[in-house]
């Protein structure tokens, strides 16, 4: 039978070129076309990668963890196929492979690095037979789309039982660590720093009960959501001892963090240009993955240090005065806009905690959308602890499709209604929030949900304040 794949690759690429010409994003359409033409294409093209593929999945931190891993692998001289635009379902991964593949044979890369949506991990793991799978965390997120956490964990455990991938697992997340029960060679990472332990659990904590026997876990330390040091007093299940760990963590406001990284190859100080404990976890995850692939420690440290924020993940943009419109007599200087994606309670709590580390009163632009990619159900804002920041808000502008509900959430968190502005239209909300400036040069913090973050990006590009990322 003649090999028809080259024709199909060319066709799918043509569709991608057309999509770009029409001004649409082309991060997943060509791949979707390719899969219609050649249903096994992901496996076929993936098999051309001489060093195979690695998959990264988690509720929170997929994009940043993959960016950190990419920085490490590139420094190690490994040419990558990487879905860095964050299109993390089959279409996006097929698109990345398609862009790198040669027509008849071969591919312009050695290693595939793919962040994968939680719902797609099973099918992509079957197709790609990855050499390693990194699982970062499971938090409640978009229950209307993903379903319950127990069900996701069960599905992951089932598919991973079939394959022979090296597992890299978060020891501090009981839901994730338990998947390693049937994989003796799993590599674990975790945090060992008692000074970071929270006094109690947040309101919306999942996985409080033993995966094996149902008894309540005892937590000796709680770091983030339900991540921490735990054991089951009933059946004895406990947190596995991680071979890759972080100690002496220091968080420096919304700017940076540092910690001591311990691996079987030795220890080293890591400086991150990204804030918050959640990014320490992302860095640990990337370091554990790189360790499993036998990347030298020094390269891991350099790769982590040189990772910059992915778009909308603690990224800073300079806002032109008056939104780029010349206005006479206003000598305002550019204002910093810091964008911190917020899409579920655990992620929101970490962003709020990180903001609380920063002194002074804050100006916020909080944007709540209920599009499909955000989750249609906005109930989750009541699980996020806006109380952490309530007394520290100078003014907050609520925007997005569900702006009024967000305003009510903030009022009941303890924010004075006089400090709350409601402006569903994002362009106007950005203008109004940016113009409402206190003395000095305090930044404006934008906390958008996923589609709000994409809209904000388009807006900033149109205003000439951000360059078009991923172009």
């Amino acid at each position: 039978m003649p090999d028809t794949l080259p024709v199909k690759l060319a066709l799918a690429r043509g569709v991608g070129a057309l999509a770009r010409l029409r001004g649409g994003g082309a991060t997943s359409i060509p791949g979707k076309v390719l899969m219609r033409l050649a249903p096994g294409a992901i496996g076929t093209l993936g098999a051309r990668l001489s060093r195979g593929s690695v998959l990264i999945s988690a509720t929170n931190g997929k994009t940043t963890t993959a960016a950190m891993a990419a920085s490490i692998f590139e420094r190690a001289g490994l040419p990558l196929v990487h879905n860095q635009a964050g299109a993390n379902m089959a279409g996006g991964i097929a698109t990345s492979l398609l862009a790198a593949a040669h027509m008849r044979a071969g591919i312009d890369a050695q290693l595939g690095l793919f962040e994968v949506d939680e719902m797609w991990l099973a099918s992509l793991a079957r197709e790609l037979e990855p050499r390693a799978i990194l699982l970062g965390n499971l938090f409640r997120d978009q229950l209307d789309r993903y379903g319950e956490l127990d069900a996701i964990a069960e599905r992951w455990a089932t598919v991973l039982r079939e394959g022979s991938s090296q597992l890299v697992l978060n020891a501090d997340d009981p839901l994730i660590a338990d998947i390693g029960r049937e994989h003796a060679d799993a590599v674990y990472f975790g945090l060992d720093d008692a000074s970071l332990s929270l006094s109690g659990m947040a309101h919306a904590v999942d996985a409080k009960h033993c995966r094996r026997c149902g008894a309540p876990y005892v937590f000796d330390a709680v770091y983030l959501g339900h991540l921490g040091h735990y054991h089951c007093p009933s059946c004895g299940q406990q947190r596995p001892t991680p071979s890759v760990s972080a100690t002496e963590v220091r968080l420096e406001g919304v700017r940076s963090g540092r910690f001591t990284l311990h691996t079987p190859a030795g220890e080293a100080d890591v400086l991150l240009a990204l804030p918050g404990l959640y990014n320490v976890y992302n860095a640990l995850a990337a370091a554990a993955l790189a360790t499993a692939l036998e990347i030298p420690l020094q390269i891991i440290v350099e790769g982590l240090a040189s990772t910059r924020a992915a778009f909308g993940r603690a990224e800073t943009v300079l806002l032109a005065p008056n939104g780029g419109q010349p206005v006479e007599g206003t000598p305002a200087s550019p204002r910093q806009l810091r964008i911190m994606l917020v899409k579920n309670p655990a992620g929101a709590n970490e962003v709020l905690r990180t903001l609380a580390l920063e002194p002074g009163q804050h100006d916020l632009l909080s944007v709540l959308n209920d599009n499909i990619a955000d989750g249609r159900d906005v109930s989750w804002i009541w699980d996020a602890d806006f109380e952490l920041l309530a007394g520290r808000i100078r003014q907050v502008t609520c925007s997005g499709t569900r702006a009024p509900e967000l305003a009510v959430r903030l009022k009941y968190a303890g924010v004075d209604p006089a400090r709350i502005r409601v402006q569903p239209d994002l362009a106007r909300a950005l203008r109004e929030a940016a113009a409402d400036r206190p003395d000095g040069d305090a930044p404006l913090y934008a906390l958008p949900t996923y589609t709000a973050m994409l809209s904000l990006r388009d807006l900033l590009v149109a205003r000439g304040e951000a360059s078009s990322a991923w172009a």
Binding site: R140, L143, D144, E148, L149, D150, H203, A204, V205, K208, H209, G214, P345, D370, R376, D377, V378, S379, W380, I381, W382, D383, T401, R402, A403, P404, E405, A407, V408, R409, K411, Y412, P417, I420, V422
Partner: protein, 257 residues
């Protein structure tokens, strides 16, 4: 300032008992409790929140309002067994006394007579004459708006929210629904009915932060629990709350006001 007995400046106090708050909280149920607390304290009504977890007894006379939220399947099963063993008679006594019992989503199912999951039939509290059967084929998910007439005055009011349930709930003849579905699925996606109500016991699939989206209903519950009429509660500035109610209605496809 509340005095030593927790009675607020108004001379009243609302004592709320959340059942299994660490297990039945999957859709931000704490938003409902926070809403009750704030609206009481802004009015000078004392507010006390207690909880009753697995294995803990329930004092029917110590609370005016009992709250049951929704949980993951496994957690809900644990709670169902415990409800029957340690809390059923207490809840019946409380309801007979006129206390408000509010069950949301999974909590609604637990207040019914039974919940059937495949071959397994789980017994419920039986305060509402309803039976629920789980159909995994597809869940009923989305924004929802229902019309209710709580005081049987003929006037209809609107409850808006979000539903996400695999269970289909059937009302026995003689059991009142909470309301009529305007948009969304409701009890079973077929009958056009949503929730169930017997006196001050109410079950609904409008999950999670039901009360933040419907503050008029929160006030109705507070008034009922205190033996008052809603208009007897001090008015609050609900500008933001009314806008949120209207916006949640729009999301469900209903024009409000």
């Amino acid at each position: 300032m509340p005095d030593a007995e927790g009675v607020g400046a108004s001379g009243r106090r609302l004592r709320v008992c959340a059942l299994y708050p660490d297990l039945l909280n999957i859709y931000a149920d704490r938003g409902n409790l926070l809403l009750l607390e704030r609206r009481c304290s802004w009015r000078g009504i004392g507010f006390e929140l207690a909880s009753s977890g697995l294995g803990e007894p329930l004092d029917a006379d110590a609370h005016e309002l009992f709250y049951l939220g929704g949980g993951q399947d496994r957690d809900q099963l644990l709670c169902a067994q415990d409800l029957i063993e340690t809390k059923r008679s207490g809840l019946h006594a409380a309801a007979t006394r006129g206390a408000v019992v509010l069950g949301v989503c999974g909590g609604y199912q637990l207040l019914g007579r039974s919940y059937t999951l495949g071959r397994e039939r789980i017994e419920g509290v039986g305060l509402l004459d309803v039976e629920t059967v789980r159909e995994d084929a597809h869940r009923l998910i989305g924004n929802i708006a229902i019309e209710v007439s709580l005081d049987h005055t003929g006037g209809a009011e609107l409850l808006v929210g979000f539903e996400n349930h695999g269970g289909r709930t059937r009302l026995s003849p003689g059991q009142d629904a909470l309301g009529r579905v305007l948009k969304g699925h409701g009890n079973d996606g077929r009958s056009g009915m949503e929730g169930a109500r017997s006196g001050n016991t109410i079950g609904t699939y409008l999950h999670g932060p039901l009360l933040p989206k419907n503050t008029w209903f929160a006030d109705w519950l507070i008034a009922r629990a205190l033996g008052l009429q809603p208009h007897e509660l001090a008015p609050l500035d609900d500008t933001l709350e009314r806008a949120a109610h209207a916006n949640a209605g729009r999301a469900a496809g209903v024009q409000v006001g």
